[in-house]
Amino acid sequence: MTAAIPSTTLVDSGASTAKARTGRLGRMDQRAGMARARLARPWTSLLAIVLAVLWTIPTFGLLLTSFRPRQEIRTSGWWTFLQNPATTLDNYTEVLFGSGTQFSTFFVNSVVITIPAVVIPISLALLAAYAFAWIDFKGRNILFVAVFALQVVPIQVTLIPLLTQYVQWGLAGSFWTIWLSHSIFALPLAIFLLHNFMKDIPPSLVEAARVDGAGHVTIFFRVLLPLLTPAIASFAIFQFLWVWNDLLVALTFAGGSPDVAPLTVRVAELAGTRGAQWHVLSAGAFIAMIVPLIVFLLLQRFFVRGLLAGSVKG
């Protein structure tokens, strides 16, 4: 479709500058330059803008709704807001202070759950990925395929056996159950992604370090780890969002007790026993969204780059 559009001077100059600089830039930047040139075409930009607006409208409507009084939400849509601009903070007050347990407790629980559930699988996966990528041992490929194949196991079939195990170990109802579960579920993908990224690093780099007398530990920390930052960051965002938004694992293993229940559990209960409190849901959704939004915005440049880097090579 884009080929049919007559190229403008703008595009030409963009493409030629990109070409002129190719020599100095890496493959990534070259690709980025081409994408930039393509995006500069007006029709593509327009399409991108239309898509972005379309995708944002529901969220925007949700945001507007969260500030409207119950009576208004009930009788009219958020798009009529300008005709009747009544706003209230009641929904937010209700979400934050309306429960027997402080909202901050759930917030803290979410943080306490999420950080180890991100750190544990990444640390383990880094070590495993290093072994799979750079240590030659018998049965390495079979083992790697086996680990990767574990991704096929759906989370749902493991819930009851895992819970039974936790009960036997006396862990039920503690944070450990959630940390361990999330780590278990995240490891296959984490190992796969990080392994592929490590494989991408030129072998000569590792060999040079070996010649200089570096052991596995030194190579891992001094050579590979600095290069892996984008991959680690991208997987960390992935895992962070998944854990932060998770309801199933938290509900099954930790239950809804205020000591361990995360935000998602509270949001799921917001509407009340028989759903009478539905009008506070939009406010609850927004409060729960803030942290992932901040994390994503802060780390998004790693996200795109790291995602491409690890996943396209088998």
Partner: protein, 456 residues
């Protein structure tokens, strides 16, 4: 290399911020615990001596009741906690019915659970005979003393009492606006024919009388099952109703077909529904807890719903016999024919520790019922005969309790709650939705439900 260093410092900053949040939150956590203790002031502990000293004991309670109703639940345990020293660990979840079997299977049962349906209790006892604990002596004597044999029966499986009633509700109500009725000169009907005449009269006056909605997430369809049950009680009578619920007659017995036809006279009549919401099919998509708003808005006049519908009214509306909204008893065939449909939840224990039995006994006692009534704004009452009705704060709850304890009314428990889960929480819901949404015929709907009844 330079940019790499910058990135790393960013990550360090992010994790440092996370730690800060952690530290700050831990400190708020400690002062959050004292909130609950202020509510229980000046309690007479003499009634609690029978439970003994339970200092340091913890009892976990798992229910489907979540905030804000859960707060009232917790407040009602305060006297028990204060006087015996036991601690109640309350946990409510809207996923209760799915999660409870998971917990039982995994060997992680709560001490006490509130089961919302007798049918669910029955299947729990069948599936987990070693986990569900029959009620202890003090609980049994409380149940027999304060509840009618019918209510004791709902918690009994194979002759053994497992569960005692906790709360109750009455579903045979039609919500209306007393002030609008007075302005229009309409009278509250006392027989089914009068109700139909009133509907016709409202329709003749140019309005649409009824509004209804059966959308309720994954439970969509349940309000329609209550309609059918209420009408079966009226057209076929309580005896046929019992046979129907226990599957002694087929689900699509001619008497049930006739009852569904009577429901259809209202719900499938384009001139009677669906005020302010659309045509007949809009019943399937209207959220049940919002569908009656046409009454204060002036777009409809009548809405059949339980006493607990009160929680869904806008807070500015006054619920009273001479207020903005109120409910009248859904009339029977004649003024003397008074069947009453209702429901409730049941307390069952998964542990025979003495403190669990003590708490179970407390929950089945009038002391608890009165404690609960005095902390509950609306939407709750109990079938406990020791309940002091004057403690109930909402007029509709008082009316519900009055009807429930009035011997001239014949009480029947919600049928779909007693049927096997595959029907009562399955095909009955979905087929009733199809009945409304795709105009499936009465016969086809009932035949499909009959076909899905588990054979055993």
């Amino acid at each position: 290399m330079n940019s790499m260093g910058r990135r790393r410092s960013q990550i360090t900053a992010a994790s440092a911020a996370g730690l800060l949040i952690l530290v700050g939150a831990c400190s708020t956590d400690t002062d959050g615990g004292s909130d609950g203790e202020n509510t229980a002031a000046a309690i007479d502990c003499s009634q609690f001596e029978q439970y003994g000293d339970l200092e340091g004991k913890t009892i976990s309670v798992y229910t489907s009741i979540v905030d804000p109703e859960a707060e009232e639940q917790r407040a009602s345990y305060a006297p028990f906690e204060e006087c015996t020293g036991a601690e109640i660990e309350y946990e409510g979840s809207r996923e209760f019915e799915a999660q409870l079997p998971v917990r039982l299977t995994a060997g992680n049962p709560p001490d006490i659970a509130y089961i919302p349906q007798p049918g669910f209790l029955k299947s729990l006892v069948e599936d987990f005979p070693d986990v569900v604990v029959p009620a202890g002596e003090s609980v049994v004597s409380n149940a027999n003393e304060f509840y009618t044999p019918e209510w004791v029966d709902y918690g009994t499986v194979d002759g053994k009492l497992y569960a005692t009633p906790l709360g109750a509700n009455v579903k045979s109500f039609v919500w209306y606006s007393p002030s609008a009725f007075a302005d229009a000169g309409y009278e509250v009907p006392t027989t089914w024919d009068e109700l139909m005449d009133l509907s016709q009269q409202i329709a003749d006056d140019g309005a649409i009388p009824w509004c209804a909605g059966i959308e309720s997430g994954e439970a969509t369809g349940w309000p329609a099952t209550d309609w059918v049950e209420d009408v079966v009680l009226r057209t076929a009578g309580p005896e046929v109703y019992d046979q129907w619920v226990n599957h002694e007659i087929p689900f699509n017995d001619p008497q049930i077909v006739a009852a569904l036809g009577t429901v259809g006279d209202i719900l499938k009549n384009d001139t009677f529904v669906n005020g302010g919401l659309g045509g007949v099919t809009s019943i399937a998509t209207a959220p049940w807890n919002e569908s009656a708003n046409g009454i204060p808005d002036g777009t409809c006049w009548l809405h059949r719903a339980a006493n607990f519908y009160q929680a869904n009214w806008d807070e500015s509306l006054e619920v009273a016999e001479d207020g903005d909204v109120y409910a009248f008893y859904l009339p029977g065939k004649t003024a003397d024919d008074k069947p009453l449909l209702g429901g409730g939840e049941f307390v069952t224990a998964f542990s025979d520790r003495p403190e669990v039995e003590a708490f179970h006994a407390y929950l089945s006692s009038p002391e608890w019922a009165n404690a609960k009534a005095s902390v509950t704004g609306q939407g709750w009452f109990s079938a406990n005969s020791g309940l002091d009705a004057s403690l109930l704060q909402s007029p509709i709850d008082q009316l519900s309790y009055e009807l429930l304890t009035d011997p001239s009314y014949t009480f029947r428990f919600d049928g779909s709650d007693q049927m096997p889960g595959a029907v009562g929480a399955g095909t009955f819901w979905t087929e009733m939705t199809a009945w409304v949404a795709s105009d499936k015929s009465d016969e086809d709907v009932l035949a499909a439900i009959e076909a899905s009844w588990p054979s055993s």
